[in-house]
Symmetry: C2
Subunit: 214 residues, 2 copies
């Protein structure tokens, strides 16, 4: 005997698989052609379907961007959550920075969609955005292991790392002119935080997280 709930589950699984396949095609296309060059025609062709079929699964192009964002954010969170070889807090921090930069330089398109806001009308939905928040908390914890807890220093950390990545992607794509500076940057940062502990006054006004960070 078959109940209706089973049928519903089965249908929803099929539907999700189809959606996933479309997002697969979208990412493979965007990695090759760039984020701006994504068109529904090309996407449909790559996915082996037609444009109206795409619309059977996504309401609009922005809905596709949103699903792409969610996929990328999940992959990013998983990558950053993987365990490290070392237990030394400093090494963990360096490895974190290296992972982040590797993720971004491997695919500038991922970096662009997740961390820069370059697509005109698009903002990620809270659901797609959720995994990124977890990653930020993770980074906060790894900084805390190094005795860094001030909000000001967390902002400095994100600026340091994204600055390296940004220069690398913009001015030396495929190279390592900036990424090879990661270890030195982290050492500099840790030395600074240690030396200024309780010597500078902390940031006075409350800050709010608006974007995705390491």
């Amino acid at each position: 005997m078959i109940n209706t709930a089973e049928i519903t589950d089965w249908r929803e699984a099929r539907r999700r698989a189809a959606r996933d396949a479309i997002i697969d095609a979208a990412w493979s296309l965007v990695v090759e052609e760039g984020l701006a060059g994504l068109s529904l025609r090309d996407l449909a062709r790559r996915a082996g379907i037609t444009v109206p079929t795409v619309y059977a699964y996504f309401d609009s192009k922005n809905a596709i961007y949103d699903a792409m964002f969610g996929r990328a954010a999940t992959e990013f969170a998983e990558r950053m959550a993987e365990p490290f070889d070392s237990d030394d807090p400093r090494e963990v921090l360096k490895a974190t920075a290296r992972r982040f930069s590797q993720f971004c330089t491997n695919s500038p398109a991922h970096y662009q969609l997740l961390f820069q806001r370059t697509i005109p009308g698009f903002e990620p939905s809270p659901e797609s955005y959720a995994p990124a928040v977890g990653s930020l908390a993770l980074a906060r914890g790894r900084l805390a292991l190094n005795g860094i807890t001030e909000a000001r220093h967390l902002d400095m950390w994100t600026a340091l790392i994204t600055g390296l990545v940004d220069q690398q992607v913009s001015n030396d794509p495929g190279g390592d002119r900036w990424t090879r500076l990661i270890d030195e940057m982290v050492d500099m940062f840790l030395a600074h935080c240690k030396s200024t502990r309780a010597s500078r006054k902390p940031a006075s006004r409350p800050t709010q997280v608006k974007g995705v960070h390491t």
Copy 2:
């Protein structure tokens, strides 16, 4: 008696003025609507002319981007070259960073065109790019006044400053959550360079400038 050289000069001045007016309109439009939203129709309307007239002065849309780049690079170079109140090298460096960030946060569109490479088929011509090279030399000189001469440290400097600006523009537009960290960042950077002088081995392989930096 009128000679032909005078007539030629006069015509060229007129032509240059007309070109300038079009670039004026282009920038005013881009500052309002964003860099990606520039269309020749809107541009012509804003400039009070028609599309074919635009083509009488520019061969293509990319030629317009190039002229916009040249204008922005010149303004940037002039701004960065203005004298400072203090003679203290450290203060000069901080003021340099503040000026840079102010220029970028005042108009993210300028920042995007000059320092990020987000427009698909566009690369600036050497002529438009020239002023930026001068600014880089200027920054190198100001770092040298602080005893910083290694190429590695110059790259760290550009990463630090653009990182702050990037986070500011992306995640707290209109605010100062990151820009207010400039002084602390510069102090951290100077302390690091001082402490590592002749203690770390210098970067081994030669580096080449591909992009515009501070």
